[in-house]
Amino acid sequence: MILVGLLLVSALWLSIGRDPALAPREPWPRGLSAEAVALWQRALGLTARNPAPAILVSRYQFEHLRPLRSWQDMERLRNYVEWADRAESVGFNGTEVDADASTGDLILLRLPRSRVLVRGGEVRDPIGFTVLPVKRDGRQRIPAVQAVSQVPVPTLALNFPRRLMPVIHAVVPRSMTIVEIYGEGFSGSRIRVFSEDSEAQVLYAGANQINAAVAALDRVAVEVDGFRSDWCEVRR
C-alpha cells in the first residue's frame, strides 16, 4: 500500500509542468563518432540485442565496470555494452521482476535508478540504470515498482566531456627498455607515459602509436592532456 501511494504521489508531482516537446531527441551530445553513437544506442537499449526492459547480466563483470569519464570513454563504454547488451531477459510487469536466476547473475532494469522503488540492495550502473541483486538461486519474484520521473538516462553531467579518452590496445616490447604502445585517443598537446610508479620518456607520439623508454617491462598507462588510460600489461 505504501509503495502504491508513493507511486501515485510521485506520478502526480512529476507530471506537473511536463512538456514532452522539450524532451531531447537524442540523449547524447552532437559530434560523437559513429562508433560511440552505436555503442550508446546499444547501452541505452535502443538497438540492443534484446529490447526487453529487464535483462539477466553478469555479477562478475559488473564488479569490474568503472565509471565513464567522457561520452567517448570508448574502452569503458565497450565494456559496459559487453556487460549490458545481453540476449537473456527476465519478466518485468512494472511492479515486480519474475526471474529464474542464480547468484552469479544480476538483473539490469533499463529504467533510471530514481524511477524504481525497491526494498534494498539495488544499485545504479555507470549510466544510471537500475541493477537488482539476486540473493538466491532459482525462480523468484523481486518487487520493483516503476515510478514516473523526468530523470533521463544517461545521468551524466551536462558539462561531461566529449573527448576521446586514451585507450591502449597493446603494448609490444621492442627492446629491454623500449615499448611500442598501440591504441586510440593519443592525440593531444601533452602526452605522458607511465610505467608502474615512474614516468617514462616518450620517444614518439602519433594518434594511434606511442613509443616510450620504460624502466620496467610490466604495465603501462598513457595520459593525454590530463586524462589517463587504464593500465595495460606489456606483451611478452
Binding site: 559513429a34 562508433e35 552505436a38 538497438t47 540485442r49 534484446n50 529490447p51 526487453a52 529487464a54 539477466l56 553478469s58 562478475y60 563483470q61 569490474h64 565494456n79 559487453e82 540476449a87 537473456e88 531477459s89 527476465v90 519478466g91 521482476v97 519474475d98 526471474a99 529464474d100 536466476a101 542464480s102 552469479g104 547473475d105 538461486d137 525462480r139 600489461e233 606483451r235
Partner: protein
Amino acid sequence: MRVLALAAAFAALLLAQPNPRVGFYQWESPIRDALLPSPLFTAPSLIERAGAGLFRIYVGSRFDYLHPVLSPQRFEGVAHCTPVDILRLSRYRHVVEHPALRTIILTVYPSRDYGGGCDDINLSRPGIGAALDDEYRQMFALSEYLLNTYGNLDKTVILANTEADNRMLEIMRHTGSSELAIRNMIAWQNTRFRAVDQARRRHPNTRLKLLNAFEIALVNLAIEQQGYRFVKSPRGRWNALRDVVPKASFDLLSYSAYESTNAPFETGVIDSPPEGTGQRLARDLTLIARETSKPVMIGELGIPRDVYDRLPSGGVEPRLASALAAIRRLRPAYVVFWQVYDAPAGRLEPVEFGWLDPARAPSRLLLEFVRSYR
C-alpha cells in the same frame, strides 16, 4: 562404346541431381517485403536452382524467420517453442520436406523460460543439471519426431550447435571461470549426442540418417584472460578444439571457417593476398583432422562483398577460388556457404554475404563448384 555411353549418361544424371554435400545457411530472417512470408519458404527453391541439395537453418527460440531476433512477437501462438514445437510449423516443415534438399542441418537450441519468455538454455551457472535434463528431453524428442515422421525419407538430418567457442567465451565473461565454461560445454555436448544416439538406437531401420555435429570456430586463436576480461587472441589458452573436442562425443566435427577464410589470424588484416585464403583453410582443416577421427565439415564459409570487393588486394572471387581449391584438395564431408540472402542493413556490420541473393547474379565459380563437388 555402350558402356561408355551408359557411364556418361549416369554421370550426367548424377550431376543433374541437387548436390547433397554442398549448400547454404540462412541464419537471421532478413525482414524484407520480397521475402515475406518467410525465407524458409523462398530459400529452398533458390538453393535447388543453384544445384545444391543442402540447407542449414536455426531451430531455436530466439528467432522464428518471421520477426527480428528476440522480437516479442516471435513464435506468437506457439505454446512452448521447443525444437519439436518449432519444427512442426509449416515454414520449417517446408524445409525438411522439400524434395531437392537431401541434407538438412538444423542448428538446434532447446529452450527454457527464465522469466522473459522462451530462450536458449543458460549454461553460465555452476549447477546445470536441470538445464541438461531439459536439453536431453528436447533433443531426444526432436530426434524421435524426425525419425518417426520422416524415417522413410532418403535424407540426412544433422543436428548441430553454432560455434562452441563463442558460447564458451560468453560463459567465461559471465562467470570469470574458464574451468566452468569448459566443463559445462563438454557436459552439454555429450548430453546432446546421447539424446540423438539413444533415439537412433530405437529406430535402427530408418532410411533417414540422423547425425549430430559439434561446431567449433577457433583453431589458431584461443581465449585469453586479460585483466578481468576474456578475449580471443593468438596467444590465448582455451578453445573448444583443444579443451572440449577430446572429451566430447559427436558424429561430425563442424568448422565455422570465418577465422580462416577472411584474414590471417596473426594480424587480422583483411587486405591480404587472396591466395592466402585457401592456404589458411587447408592449414586449419589439416589441424582439425589431427584432433578427431570423425569426419569434418565446413559449417560456415562466407565472404561479404560489400567489404571484400573494395580491397586493393582483390575481391571475393579470387578468395573464393582459393578456398574452393583447398576444399577440393582436402574434401570435407559437407560444405555450407554463409548464407542465402544478404543480412539486414544498418548495424555497422558487413551485409552482402548472400551467395544467392536475388539482388545480384550468383558467382559462376560457386555454381560450378556446387555442381561438381561430389
